[in-house]
Every structure is written in structure tokens, then in C-alpha cells.
């Protein structure tokens, strides 16, 4: 086995048994399960109260209103009049309703008086569903006739062949958000793992024995590869958790909340997208991890870690933020430009890929630029690492680091 392979094996074995890695992997999977299941659980636990109402008022208003509400509200009781005053005990006695809604007609307009135990939950409720009833009150025409005045028929026509329908587009958006977040977290966590490993070797002085035995580049490569492999393994575990929980969680949420189900939606490009996710992960990780390792090699004490890792975290944060912007405007010139920039493009180009059909040449160019950037990072990091691992004392200035790169 060659030097790089030995370092890879030892680093992989050492890190996979480390408590932080095991905790992050298990807690990540649990967090996915929690995030997916929580809305459905929350919905089940609280929807009965938040969306349950006592509907009051004259039958001429109550009956069509109950029909118009549809699934928006669950009417626990339908009464002509409410007691004075309305109390929480009254709501509890009528199916633990969240509110009592009294409909009335004043000056030719429809009024709704809401007596609720939770003002914040009802502040944004605008009873838009009752608009046809409002028109009926104003004009005297029946709801069956007025309904067409307050709705506009809509028909969507996609110009991007990537998504066949709105449900698939919603799924694509979800995939983009999920994978870009995983990409961001994984790159940062695994690059930080490389930093911790290099810092441990540097501060424990084991580095001197290592560089006297094997080439620093082999050491750096083996270490980076092991951290990358561990990160991919971690992502696979998280993906397994997502696959196990997302369908059931989403179905439960759709059922209990009345949201439109997209579980049947799909888009044909998903396998290709996952392959590109792995490619962008590897290239992005290679850039960040090697630069982080080089920075870590410059410190003598773990307390100095923040001063070198702080500035180089900024591109990752910037890339992630631009990716959020790209979710809303994947075709904006700034976003397109960022999708070719090293350090940023793994996040930005991947977001564009998940949301629209990106021309093949742009994908190829972005991958090529990232590949060249990754090689350049290895080269630069190797030079700094070779010198940095034996450098103790004061943190070198940026000018001294540049001098090393030029040497």
C-alpha cells in the first residue's frame, strides 16, 4: 500500500470511531427525521384547536359559509347566536374550538366577529374563502353565481422541460434547498475535520516524525481523501434517513394540513442531479479542505485556529447565501457569473441545476473551472503545508505565506 493509502486508511479508521463524527452522523439522521416528522406531528397536535371553530350567525350566512370554508376550518358547532360573553369554557365545551366566528350583515356588508383564545393565530386570517358570500350580501345574487366573479381561472404552461408540472417543480425546489444545505454543511464540517486533524498533528508535534517519513503532499492527500470519504459516508447515512422518513412525513403533513401532496411528483433528471451533487461536493470539498489544511499547518497552538479559519470560512458562507438568492432568481446575471467562480460555484451552480435546465456547456465549464481550482488549491496548499508543518512560534504574515507560494 502506498503512503497516501496508508494515511487514508489510518485517518479514516481514526475519524470514523471518533465521538464527534459518530454523534454528528447519528444526530444528523435524527434531525432529518425530526424536521420531516415535526410539522406533521405539530399539525396533528394543534390543528384541531387552531382550525376548529364554532360558527354562529343567521342560517342564511352560516350554511353557505360552512360550505365555502371547505377544508380550511373544521366547524365543531353551528349556532344561531353566541353567549354573552363568549368564554374559553364555552370554546372548550364545543369541541375545544380555537375560536367562535360570528357572521353578521351590517350596512350591506358581511362581517365576521372572531372570539379567540389566541389572537396571534387569527391575526392573519382574512376569510378570503367567504368572498363569494360577501358579494352575495352586497348584490343579492346567490353564491353559486357570485363565485365566478371572485376567482380567476389559471392555467400554467412550463417553458422549461425540466419539470413537467408544478408538483415536480416544487419537488425540485425542495431538492435544491435540501441538497445545497447538505453540501454547505458537509463541506464545512469535513473541511473542519481536516483542520482539526492537521492542528492535532501540528500541536502534538507528531508532524515532524511524519514529514521525516513520508512526503507532506502524500500526508495532505491521504488526510483530505479520508475526510472526504467520511463526509460522503455521512451524507449517505443522512440520505438514507431522508428516504426513510420524507415520504411518510410528507404524506402525513399533506393529509393533516390539507396541503397539496407532491409525493407522486418526480423529475426525470434526479439521478443525473445526484451525480452532479457528488461531483460538485468532491470538487468543492477539495478546494476548501486543502486550503483549510494549509491554514491549519501555520498555527502552533489550537487557540490560533480561529484566526486562520475565520477568514477562509467566508467564501463558503458567501456561496451559501448567493445560493439562497439563486433559489429566487437562478438566471440573474450575478448568479450565472457566480456559478463559474471557484469556491462559490459548487453551491451556486448546483442550485441552478436543481431549479432550471442549465446548458450543458455551462455545467462542463463550471466543472472544468472547479477541477482546475481544486488542483491549484492542492498545489498551493502543498507548498504552504510543507513549510507550515515545521513552523512554530508567531503566526506568519500573509506576505510571508505569499513568499512561500512564490518560492
Amino acid at each position: 500500500m502506498n503512503e497516501t493509502g496508508l494515511v487514508f486508511g489510518a485517518e479514516f479508521a481514526r475519524r470514523i470511531r471518533s465521538r464527534p463524527y459518530i454523534l454528528a452522523t447519528v444526530l444528523g439522521a435524527l434531525a432529518i427525521a425530526l424536521v420531516v416528522e415535526a410539522p406533521a406531528l405539530f399539525n396533528r397536535a394543534f390543528s384541531s384547536q387552531a382550525h376548529a371553530i364554532v360558527l354562529a350567525g343567521p342560517a342564511a350566512l352560516r350554511v353557505p359559509a360552512q360550505t365555502l370554508f371547505g377544508d380550511d376550518f373544521r366547524v365543531t358547532a353551528s349556532v344561531d347566536a353566541l353567549p354573552q360573553p363568549v368564554t374559553i369554557d364555552y370554546l372548550d365545551a364545543h369541541g375545544k374550538a380555537g375560536a367562535a366566528v360570528l357572521l353578521s350583515q351590517r350596512g350591506g356588508r358581511l362581517y365576521a366577529d372572531v372570539f379567540t383564545r389566541d389572537l396571534s393565530a387569527w391575526d392573519d386570517v382574512d376569510f378570503r374563502a367567504l368572498a363569494p358570500l360577501g358579494v352575495q350580501v352586497a348584490t343579492g345574487e346567490p353564491v353559486s353565481q357570485t363565485q365566478r366573479y371572485v376567482t380567476v381561472e389559471k392555467s400554467l404552461h412550463s417553458l422549461d422541460a425540466k419539470f413537467a408540472d408544478t408538483q415536480s417543480a416544487a419537488l425540485g425546489h425542495g431538492v435544491a434547498i435540501g441538497l445545497v444545505t447538505v453540501l454547505y454543511i458537509s463541506i464545512l464540517i469535513s473541511a473542519q475535520a481536516v483542520v482539526a486533524s492537521v492542528a492535532e498533528e501540528k500541536t502534538s508535534r507528531i508532524a515532524e516524525v511524519l514529514v521525516a517519513t513520508i512526503s507532506p503532499v502524500s500526508l495532505l492527500t491521504g488526510k483530505t481523501m479520508a475526510a472526504g470519504a467520511l463526509a460522503l459516508l455521512q451524507i449517505a447515512v443522512w440520505a438514507g434517513a431522508a428516504l426513510a422518513f420524507v415520504p411518510s412525513g410528507f404524506a402525513a403533513f399533506s393529509h393533516s394540513s390539507g396541503a397539496k401532496a407532491v409525493t407522486g411528483a418526480s423529475f426525470a433528471g434526479l439521478p443525473q442531479e445526484l451525480a452532479l451533487f457528488v461531483a460538485f461536493f468532491i470538487l468543492g470539498f477539495a478546494q476548501y479542505a486543502t486550503i483549510y489544511a494549509a491554514a491549519a499547518s501555520l498555527i502552533s497552538r489550537t487557540e490560533d485556529l480561529g484566526s486562520v479559519s475565520g477568514p477562509i470560512v467566508m467564501p463558503a458562507v458567501g456561496g451559501f447565501l448567493i445560493a439562497q438568492f439563486a433559489m429566487a432568481a437562478p438566471n440573474a446575471p450575478f448568479v450565472v457569473a457566480c456559478s463559474f467562480m471557484p469556491f462559490l460555484s459548487p453551491y451556486v451552480m448546483f442550485t441552478r441545476l436543481a431549479l432550471e435546465t442549465v446548458p450543458a456547456w455551462q455545467i462542463g465549464l463550471s466543472l472544468a473551472i472547479n477541477a482546475v481550482a481544486a488542483v491549484a488549491c492542492f498545489w498551493a496548499a502543498g507548498k504552504v503545508y510543507r513549510v507550515g508543518m515545521l513552523l512554530y512560534g508567531k503566526l506568519p504574515s500573509p506576505r510571508q505565506v505569499l513568499a512561500v507560494l512564490r518560492s
Partner: protein, 302 residues
């Protein structure tokens, strides 16, 4: 054979090693002595290829030292370091593998060295749980598990209690007996005198003295004389020769003479001055020679 020929190395404006030359034979222990900042560690790092020399040559068995050759070397640096959470046996095997051993061979040799160094009982414990002395032994095992042709030991006795230091000495003797060439630096003079066959004293990046202890004694001849009985006449003779008297507890007198003193003329003058029962020049210890080698340079510089 390891040969350093007029090797030099600078870091920026600081000349760490100005001119160092020496040779180390296989199956021998070579002591590299010098005060802090003399250039010992830099010299060792150049031998190991960590730093390339700015000038001069370093050869092993007549050839240049490349990465392939270096894997047959071993190194115990002054600053100790181990993977804290890695188990002892696992760690030694890993270093054996890095030096080119097959897994089975590395395991067998690891068990052998852990046993020899008296740390077999800690084989499955993480290194962080071991005492400093035992960690040092683990690091020694990491440095020697592959039976290196050349072993560099920088301050191997530093921080060791007498029992552990003795275990280290035994390990060094075992390696030398097996044919390993050892280069060893230490400030523990009595231990280095005990294990080394030849020495090189460097200061300010230059060689001040080198050779076997006998050769060094010839280079720095004895300057201390014990005389009994110490009489006023005897003291007057030594006083005229520029000697400084050292107090003793056995009733004799001990005089430290200048380097230029003529022992023959001095003996004749002492005999003429009165009855003498003992006139005994004292062989200088390695420590005396070391101090004089360093001091001689100070005098020259002054």
C-alpha cells in the same frame, strides 16, 4: 556510512548551521553535542531530508538520501508527539507500515518492541492515558519498529526517570548491536558518554571537536592535577604556573592549569619544592571536554 561534508543551512538572515562535517559508521552510536541553538536539530533535520542543506553534501552508503532511503531511517524528535486517541499497538504498527513494513511483519515487530520496552501491558490503551515516560517509550517503538539502518535520536533521555532512561539505553545498545547507525543528541553527559563511541561537539553551527573520547582527550589534554600533601611550597609552584586551586575533601589539593602548562616541568618543580607522595593528572570527562570546546571558541571570539 553516513557522511556530512561541509553542510550549511540558513533561515533568512540566521545561519543555523555554518559548516558541519562528520561521519557515522554502521553499528555505532554517535553523540552530537552542543549548547541550545548550536544547530544540532537543524543538522538532524537535514539528514532526514526535512530541510535541504544550502551547501555541502549528505550521503548514506555513498549515495544521496532520497525518499526511498529515508523510509529506512528512524527519528525520535526532541518534541514528543503521538496521536492521543490512537491505541499504543495500533500507533506503532501504523508507523511501521509508513516505513514500508507489511502488516503481519509490522504487528510482529510491534509486539516485540512493546515487550522489550516494557509497555506491552498498555498495548490496547490510548496513548493519552499513558505517563510521559511510557509515551516516550511508545514513541521510541514507533521510531525503531522497522529496524532502521540509521536512527536519529534528539534528546532521547529528556524527561525520563533513571529506570526508563536505563530502558532507553538498553534499546540503543540493542539497535547498535543489530547494525543500526545511531546519531544521538543529549545534554545528559554521563548517559551520552556511556552509550556513544564517538562524538561531535558543535556550537554556533560549526564543529568544535570530534572523535572518540580518547581522541577528544588527546585534543583537549588533561588540565587538572591532584597533589598530596598540599604544602605552601607546592601551592607556590602551582601559583607561579597560573593554576587555580579547587577545594577537595580528601586532604589533597586539586589545581586547574592553563592549557599551555608543561606537566613535565611542573612535576620537576613540585618534587624540588618538597616531599610529594602523589602527583596525579586527572583525565577530563566528556563534560569537561565539552565545556572546554565551547569555551575555547568563546576565547577565540573574544
Amino acid at each position: 556510512m553516513l557522511i556530512l561534508d561541509h553542510v550549511r543551512r540558513s533561515f533568512g538572515d540566521v545561519a543555523a548551521v555554518r559548516d558541519v562535517s562528520f561521519a557515522v559508521q554502521p553499528a555505532s552510536v554517535f553523540g552530537l553535542l552542543g549548547p541550545n541553538g548550536a544547530g544540532k536539530t537543524t543538522t538532524m533535520r537535514m539528514i532526514l531530508g526535512i530541510y535541504p542543506p544550502d551547501g555541502g553534501t549528505i550521503t548514506w552508503k555513498g549515495g544521496v538520501i532520497d525518499a526511498h532511503v529515508r523510509r529506512r531511517f528512524g527519528y525520535l524528535p526532541e518534541e514528543r508527539g503521538l496521536y492521543a486517541r490512537m491505541r499504543v499497538r495500533e500507533q506503532v504498527i501504523y508507523f511501521g507500515r509508513l516505513h514500508g513494513l507489511e502488516l503481519g511483519d509490522a504487528e510482529r515487530r510491534t509486539d516485540d518492541w512493546l515487550d522489550a520496552l516494557g509497555i506491552a501491558e498498555y498495548a490496547k490503551r490510548p496513548c493519552s492515558e499513558l505517563s510521559k515516560g511510557n509515551q516516550q517509550k511508545v514513541q521510541m517503538a514507533c521510531a525503531v519498529v522497522h529496524a532502521p539502518e540509521l536512527l536519529i535520536l534528539d534528546e532521547p533521555f529528556s524527561g525520563l526517570d533513571p529506570v526508563n532512561a536505563e530502558a532507553m539505553v538498553r534499546a540503543i545498545e540493542r539497535l547498535a548491536a543489530q547494525g543500526t547507525a545511531l546519531v544521538l543528541s543529549s545534554h545528559q553527559m554521563w548517559q551520552i558518554e556511556q552509550v556513544c563511541g564517538s562524538f561531535c561537539v558543535i556550537a554556533k553551527g560549526e564543529v568544535r571537536a570530534h572523535g572518540t573520547l580518547a581522541e577528544l582527550r588527546a585534543t583537549f589534554p588533561t588540565r587538572t592535577v591532584h597533589v598530596a600533601p598540599p604544602t605552601a611550597e607546592t601551592r607556590a609552584v602551582f601559583d607561579r604556573a597560573g593554576a587555580v586551586e579547587r577545594p577537595t575533601s580528601d586532604g589533597s589539593a586539586s589545581f586547574v592549569l592553563p592549557a599551555t602548562a608543561d606537566f613535565g616541568a611542573l612535576l620537576r618543580a613540585v618534587v624540588e619544592a618538597g616531599p610529594v607522595t602523589s602527583f596525579e593528572p586527572e583525565e577530563p570527562s566528556l563534560n569537561d571536554i565539552y565545556l572546554r570546546a565551547i569555551g575555547a571558541q568563546t576565547e577565540r571570539a573574544a
